[in-house]
C-alpha cells in the first residue's frame, strides 16, 4: 500500500515541471478573423481555432490581413444558420490546439439541428466534428426497424415521395402551360 502511494507521489511532480516550460515558450501574437452566417451576426475567431476548418484555413492562409482588414472583411456563410455557426465556432474554440477526444457527447440532441450541423460541418470541412456528428446520426437508428428509421430520420415513404414528385411535376406542368398560354397570348 505504502509503496504504491510513494509511487504516485514521486510521479506527481513530473507534471508541474513540464507545464511552466511550455508556458514560458514565446507566444506568437494570435491573429483573429471574422465570420458570419445567415443572421449576419459576426463572430470573432482566432486563426488557431479556425484551423479545424480546412475550408477556412485554406481561405486565410497567405491572406496576410491586418486586424482592421480582417474586421472589415468578415467571411460570409450565408448558407449556414446563425445558431448552427455559433455551435461550430464554440466547438472550434473549445478544441483549439487540442488533440480531439475519441468521442464528443456534447452535440445537439435535436435531430433537425444535428442534420443542419452535419451539413455546415461538411461544408466547412471540419473533419473530426463531422465524424462525431455522423456517428451520432448513425447511433440514432441502430437496432431500429425500417418504420422507426423512417420516423427518426424523417424520411418520406416511396409512395409519399412519388406523390410529392407528381404534385411538383403537375405544378411545373401547369406553370409551363400557363407560360405557353401567356406566350401564345403575347404572340397574338
Amino acid at each position: 500500500m505504502s509503496s504504491t502511494e510513494q509511487g504516485t507521489s514521486s510521479a506527481a511532480p513530473a507534471e508541474p515541471t513540464t507545464a511552466p516550460e511550455s508556458a514560458a515558450a514565446p507566444e506568437v501574437p494570435e491573429s483573429f478573423y471574422y465570420v458570419h452566417g445567415k443572421d449576419k451576426v459576426v463572430h470573432k475567431v482566432s486563426a488557431g481555432a479556425l484551423q479545424h476548418s480546412a475550408l477556412i484555413h485554406g481561405m486565410i492562409s497567405n491572406l496576410g490581413y491586418t486586424e482592421e482588414q480582417a474586421k472589415a472583411n468578415p467571411f460570409p456563410f450565408e448558407n449556414i444558420d446563425g445558431d448552427i455557426l455559433q455551435m461550430v465556432v464554440d466547438w472550434c474554440n473549445q478544441h483549439k490546439g487540442k488533440p480531439t477526444p475519441p468521442e464528443d457527447t456534447n452535440l445537439p440532441k435535436q435531430k433537425e439541428k444535428l442534420f443542419d450541423l452535419v451539413l455546415a460541418v461538411n461544408y466547412l470541412e471540419i473533419k473530426e466534428l463531422l465524424t462525431y456528428c455522423c456517428k451520432q446520426v448513425a447511433m440514432m437508428v441502430k437496432g431500429k426497424s425500417p418504420e422507426e428509421i423512417r420516423e427518426i430520420w424523417m424520411i418520406p415513404t416511396d409512395a409519399e415521395d412519388e406523390a410529392a414528385e407528381k404534385e411538383a411535376k403537375k405544378r411545373a406542368g401547369k406553370e409551363a402551360a400557363g407560360e405557353t398560354a401567356a406566350a401564345a397570348g403575347d404572340a397574338k
Binding site: 451539413l119 448513425a138 426497424s145
Partner: protein, 321 residues
C-alpha cells in the same frame, strides 16, 4: 431544415460506416433512395457481416442457410410452387420474380457484406432438377471460404459451384456424390485454380481418368478411382520422399492388379494380415518414414515415426533414382 436524403454522399458514406451489418440491411428497406445508395456503395465502405457458414440446398425449392459467429442461424426458403420466399416466419410472394433470381440476389447481398473468410460453405445439389440452372451462374462475385463441401451428381454440377470460390482462401475441398457408386469425370475440375491451390481434397465419388499429375501436388488427398499403374505409384512415391509439402494420399481403387509390378520395382512387401507395407526413408528427414500400404483394392501413402515400422520390415534408403 436539412433532410438526411439530401446529405452529400461522403457524409452518408461516413454515417453508414458507423452502422453494423444488420442496421445497413434495415436501412436498405427504408426507401428506394437508400436502397439504391447502399447497393451502389463500394464494398470497402460497408460493415462486415462476419458470417461463419453459408449453405445452400437446391431441390424443387432453394434453401439458403447462414450462420453467424454466435452460431445463430438464418434460413431463407424459396418455394417454387408458391413462388415465395420465407424468412423468419414471414412469407413474401415473389410475383413476377423467379425464385433462382431472388435467391441469387439475396445471396449476393449477404456476400457483399462478408469481408471475413467463411469457415464452411456447403452446397447441396443432390435433388437439383436437371432443368434448374445453377444459382451460381448469375452470381457476380467470388466467395471466400476455408472449407467447401459440394454435393452433386455430375462434373457440371461441381463446376457450377467450384469456380465461384476464391482459390487463395480456399483450403479444403470435399466433393461428394449423391450416390457412392457414381462415376464422374474430373478433367474440367482438375484444371481449376481451386483444385490446383487446395491443401486438401476429398473426392468421394469414383473419379474417371485420374492422372497422377493432377493429384501429386496436393498435400492431402483422398480419391476414389478405377485403377492406377505401378509406374504411377512409383512416380508418386518419389514425390513423397523428396517433397516436404505432402502429408497423405489415399487412393481407393475399383481394382488393382499391379502388385507384382510393384514388387518388381520396390522389392518384396512386408505382409501383415491383408495389408502389404513398403517403407522408404526421406530425403530431408530421419525422424519420419514414408509408408506405402496396399490393402486391395485401396492403397495409400502416409508418414510414420521409425519406431512404428513393423519388426522385420525393410526400410529402403533414400535413393534419388
Amino acid at each position: 431544415m436539412a433532410s438526411i436524403i439530401e446529405m452529400p454522399e461522403l457524409v452518408l458514406d461516413q454515417i453508414i460506416e458507423f452502422l453494423d451489418f444488420k442496421s445497413v440491411l434495415t436501412l436498405r428497406q427504408v426507401c428506394r433512395d437508400f436502397r439504391n445508395f447502399i447497393d451502389d456503395l463500394k464494398v470497402s465502405k460497408l460493415p462486415d457481416s462476419r458470417f461463419t457458414e453459408i449453405g445452400m440446398k437446391v431441390d424443387k425449392d432453394i434453401c439458403l442457410r447462414i450462420e453467424d459467429q454466435d452460431r445463430h442461424q438464418y434460413k431463407f426458403i424459396y418455394s417454387e410452387i408458391e413462388n415465395s420466399r420465407s424468412f423468419n416466419g414471414k412469407t413474401t410472394t415473389l410475383g413476377n420474380w423467379n425464385i433462382v433470381d431472388v435467391a441469387v440476389r439475396d445471396l449476393e447481398l449477404v456476400l457483399k457484406f462478408q469481408k471475413s473468410t467463411l469457415s464452411w460453405s456447403n452446397f447441396d445439389l443432390e435433388d437439383c432438377p436437371l432443368s434448374k440452372e445453377s444459382p451460381f451462374k448469375k452470381l457476380n462475385r467470388t466467395i471466400k471460404t476455408k472449407n467447401l463441401v459440394i454435393i452433386s451428381d455430375s462434373q457440371s454440377g461441381f463446376m457450377s459451384i467450384l469456380p465461384f470460390f476464391d482459390s487463395k482462401t480456399l483450403e479444403d475441398i470435399y466433393l461428394n456424390p449423391t450416390n457412392e457408386e457414381m462415376q464422374i469425370g474430373i478433367d474440367e475440375i482438375v484444371k481449376t485454380e481451386q483444385w490446383r491451390n487446395a491443401k486438401k481434397i476429398h473426392c468421394n465419388f469414383h473419379a474417371l481418368n485420374v492422372k497422377v499429375e493432377d493429384i501429386c501436388h496436393l498435400p492431402r488427398v483422398i480419391v476414389r478411382t478405377e485403377s492406377i499403374s505401378a509406374r504411377d505409384l512409383d512416380f508418386l512415391k518419389k514425390i513423397f520422399i523428396t517433397s516436404s509439402k505432402l502429408k497423405y494420399c489415399d487412393l481407393r481403387m475399383r481394382n488393382f492388379e499391379e502388385k507384382e509390378e510393384l514388387c518388381n520395382l520396390w522389392g518384396p512387401a512386408f505382409i501383415s494380415g491383408s495389408s502389404s507395407y513398403w517403407y522408404f526413408r526421406l530425403k530431408d528427414s530421419n525422424k519420419n518414414i514414408l509408408v506405402f500400404r496396399l490393402r486391395e483394392p485401396s492403397l495409400g501413402y502416409f508418414f510414420t515415426k521409425s519406431n512404428f515400422v513393423w519388426n522385420g520390415a525393410i526400410v529402403h534408403d533414400y535413393n534419388e533414382n
